[in-house]
Symmetry: C2
Subunit: 112 residues, 2 copies
């Protein structure tokens, strides 16, 4: 192994704001729908209220989602939708992941 850097390993283009497991899940679910509610995200991703709430706040702070709280009948409901910026961030993440996976496909598997 030389110590020369391999320019631009795809891992360098992954953004922790998007790559983190629950956040990537939220953006992935939202990419295909106009909006989703908190309960749907929670059930789909199999996470706790607290965990999902924290990651939604982080995604909102980063500008990747918009959160709207409404009263639906008599119960409060939290709607979440992906922003244009969030969609672009997800696209960059997926491009880096594709590149990373393509690099692996070309790698030998010595001694396995």
């Amino acid at each position: 192994m030389s110590e020369r850097p391999v320019a631009g390993h795809p891992i360098q283009r992954l953004d922790d704001d998007v790559h983190q497991r629950v956040r990537l899940g939220v953006l992935t679910v939202l990419a295909g729908v106009a909006r989703a509610d908190f309960a749907h995200l929670k059930a789909t991703l199999a996470v706790t209220d607290g965990n999902l709430g924290r990651h939604l706040e982080a995604l909102e702070r980063a500008g990747h989602v918009e959160i709207t709280k409404v009263i639906d009948g008599r119960r409060p409901r939290t709607w979440v939708r992906i922003t244009r910026q969030g969609r672009h961030a997800l696209r960059r993440e997926v491009e880096a992941l594709r590149e990373l996976i393509a690099g692996l496909d070309g790698a030998a598997e010595p001694g396995d």
Copy 2:
């Protein structure tokens, strides 16, 4: 949006031990080589000594890599290699990521 869980969203099969950005990078680099040294990993992934060191320890604790410290001439050198378990864990991660990306490809992009 209904509250019915979508059974087995691929995000549920991502393991934080492997998915975390630097750890995924380490395993990806190691998958294609017999072993790599600390300096090579650091340069390839563009991370600090401290950050790489912490994630290597976590990967070693999880059984995904083996770390060997040797004296090479007069300087200490840290070699890292992926274990069979680490290779399997990386394969599971990549399978879940492929599925996640495939799901996105099929998703409409309303209003973008």
